[in-house]
């Protein structure tokens, strides 16, 4: 051990004293990037994200081709005869939604990016790292922004890669029944890029929740509750009695429904919000969480 090395190594300060300027955003961004790339959980989580989205998208796409195979043989899944013409109609419907079908795995992918978004900030508290982080860089707004920017960028890049991969794999499968689509078709590129944007926004929503709660399990549970459980409830709750507003008027505000507008093909008519309006609503939810997190991060004792 370096008991004796102490003196020589320290004497005469190895660093030039006080360079100009001050510790700021850029250095903190580099630091946060080092943090996120230097723990294994990041890679496992991102790998799980890609595999879940691509795998589930592929499975769902394959399911559609099987459905068409049945219909082409003149029978549905239960073996009942179907009138001629149904197969063609279904094929056209699948073709119109081909991009969204291949992105079906985002339903699960959102949960995984929620985990990573929460961990980005809650792991600082669960490990005690936050004390080291804020002692090195006490300007909390800078730390919070740098962390958010780095995580947001990682989430966006991974989200886009995931979305495009899922799209291409899904289309390759759908093409066996000639119902695939291409990026050149109207709305398709927007749908696929939208998948990446949606995942990034989910992650940032969870980042904000994590900063408010400072607790990994609590933040993940809350994120999943908002994105997944609310959506499931929205599928089951009966609409209000017909009258002054319909169920869709509530449903469209559910976070998942608003956010997924950007990667759902409009032709299926499931989303009362147009793609960008829906995404704007969802981004506003994420912004509320991120700003809430900032307020807590700035004000509460670390």
């Amino acid at each position: 051990m370096a008991t004796t090395a102490t003196h020589e190594a320290l004497v005469g300060g190895k660093l030039a004293r006080q360079p100009a300027g001050r510790a700021g955003f850029l250095g903190t961004v580099r630091s946060e990037f080092t943090k996120i790339r230097s723990v294994r959980s990041t890679y496992w989580t991102l790998l799980a994200l890609v595999l879940a989205c691509v795998g589930i998208g592929a499975l769902f796409s394959w399911g559609q081709t099987q459905r068409l195979t049945h219909l082409d043989s003149g029978r549905n899944f239960r073996g009942a005869h179907v009138p001629p013409g149904v197969a063609a109609a279904v094929a056209a419907e699948i073709h119109r939604s081909a991009a969204s079908i291949s992105l079906f795995g985002l339903l699960i992918g959102q949960l995984i990016i929620i985990v990573l978004g929460a961990l980005t900030i809650t792991s600082e508290y669960s490990t005690g790292m936050i004390r080291t982080s804020l002692t090195a860089m006490p300007r909390r707004g800078t730390v919070y922004a740098a962390k958010g920017v780095v995580f947001g960028a990682v989430a966006l890049v991974t989200g886009l890669v995931t979305s495009f991969l899922a799209f291409f794999v899904g289309q390759a499968i759908l093409s066996s029944q000639h119902v695939s689509t291409t990026l050149g078709q109207p709305e398709v590129l927007r749908t696929v890029i939208g998948g990446g944007l949606f995942l990034a926004a989910c992650g940032l929503l969870s980042y904000g929740i994590g900063a408010v709660l400072r607790h990994t399990a609590g933040a993940i549970a809350t994120g999943i509750g908002l994105m997944f459980v609310l959506w499931i409830l929205s599928q089951f709750l009966p609409g209000p009695p017909s009258g002054w507003f319909g169920q869709a008027d509530i449903d469209k505000w559910i976070p998942f429904n608003a956010g997924s507008a950007i990667w759902e093909h409009q032709a299926n008519g499931l989303n009362p919000f147009s793609p960008w309006i829906g995404f704007a609503v969802f981004s506003a939810y994420a912004a509320v969480a991120v700003i809430g997190g900032l307020v807590v991060f700035l004000r509460r004792d670390a």
Binding site: A2, V11, G27, V39, R40, R139
Partner: protein
């Protein structure tokens, strides 16, 4: 230079730090002493801006810590050995800390060498022992070559080798003109290292003076003696003005006489001594007495618990 003025921190109903004012001067080791729960850690967190004071101010070189241009070049702090992400290697931990203050990467190798962790630099820190974790924390604190170093209970849980290493490190840092501010609940530890003592209890300032002043003001002469002729020695010592009490193992503790005086007394009266030792434990005792009224959780302590912890302190 750290300056606290009327520093107060309240958590709910608990007043953790109560109107504390002190100055930590540069170029020496200042011991920050108090029983567990006295508010030492809270005070350090207030200095670093981790907690916001309820009232009062604390500055580092005249500025709140958060406003320093390059915080790591001014202050290096070790609050606890667990302030790291266990999944990150020692090197990457130091890298992400260094980057916040634009410190050069070569500095990481230097501090790893300095604390003796070079060989495990690429290992994840979750496998580190407490001593290694402590060294990693100290490496992070030293990264910026800071003028001020703060250590919170740095020897807690360390083995004797680790304790010696930390002591020498603190002395070396102070000898280079740095300010070293180190907290402890063990008087015996501070006696060996600190030049100046700030003593607190229940968040309040009890004493702020040099270590030698503190010792002079608070330590009593105490001599431990073992003799087959107990009654005779007790009578003689009492006559000479000493207070006598029994110690463990049939020994006697004499207060008010020096070891030389006790030895002479025995020799002149033909009393055989089997053991004669001047004891410093009284300083620990003085500290216990000084802070006894301010120990946070003293209700229900069995009689003599104070002495036990004083002994535990000596062992640690």
């Amino acid at each position: 230079m750290i300056e606290a003025r009327g520093l107060t921190k309240r958590y709910g109903d608990t007043l953790a730090v109560d109107n504390l004012s002190f100055t930590v001067a540069p170029g020496r080791i200042t011991g920050f002493l108090g029983p567990n729960g006295a508010g030492k850690t809270t005070t350090m967190r207030l200095i670093l801006g981790l907690d916001r004071p309820t009232s009062g101010t604390v500055t580092v070189d005249g500025k709140p810590f958060g406003q320093l241009a390059w915080p790591m070049r001014e202050v290096g702090a070790l609050l606890d050995a667990k302030a790291v992400h266990g999944g990150r290697s020692a090197y990457n931990h130091l890298l992400c800390v260094a980057q916040t203050n634009n410190l050069p990467n070569r500095r990481i190798g230097e501090v790893l060498e300095l604390v003796g962790l070079s060989e495990v630099a690429r290992k994840r820190s979750k496998g580190f022992s407490l001593g290694m974790g402590q060294r990693l924390g100290i490496a992070a604190a030293l990264l910026g070559d800071p003028k001020i170093l703060m250590f919170d209970e740095p020897v807690n849980g360390l083995d004797p080798e680790g304790i010696l290493w930390i002591r020498n490190l603190m002395k070396a840092l102070a000898s280079e003109g740095r300010t070293v501010f180190v907290s402890s609940h063990l008087m015996s530890e501070m006696e060996n290292t600190a030049d100046h003592l700030i003593v607190i209890g229940r968040g309040k300032l009890i004493s702020d003076c040099t270590t030698s002043e503190f010792i002079a003001a608070n330590s009593q002469q105490s001599v431990r003696v073992r003799t087959p002729q107990r009654e005779e020695l007790v009578a003689l010592a009492s006559a000479a003005g000493a207070t006598v009490r029994d110690d463990a193992g049939g020994a006697l503790v004499l207060l008010g006489l020096t070891a030389a005086q006790v030895g002479d007394l025995a020799f002149e009266n033909g009393i055989r001594l089997h053991e004669l030792a001047a004891a410093h434990a009284s300083l620990e005792q003085a500290f216990m007495e000084l802070t006894a009224s301010s120990v946070e959780f003293h209700a229900g302590l069995p009689a003599g618990a104070g002495r036990e912890s004083a002994h535990a302190g000596e062992v640690a």
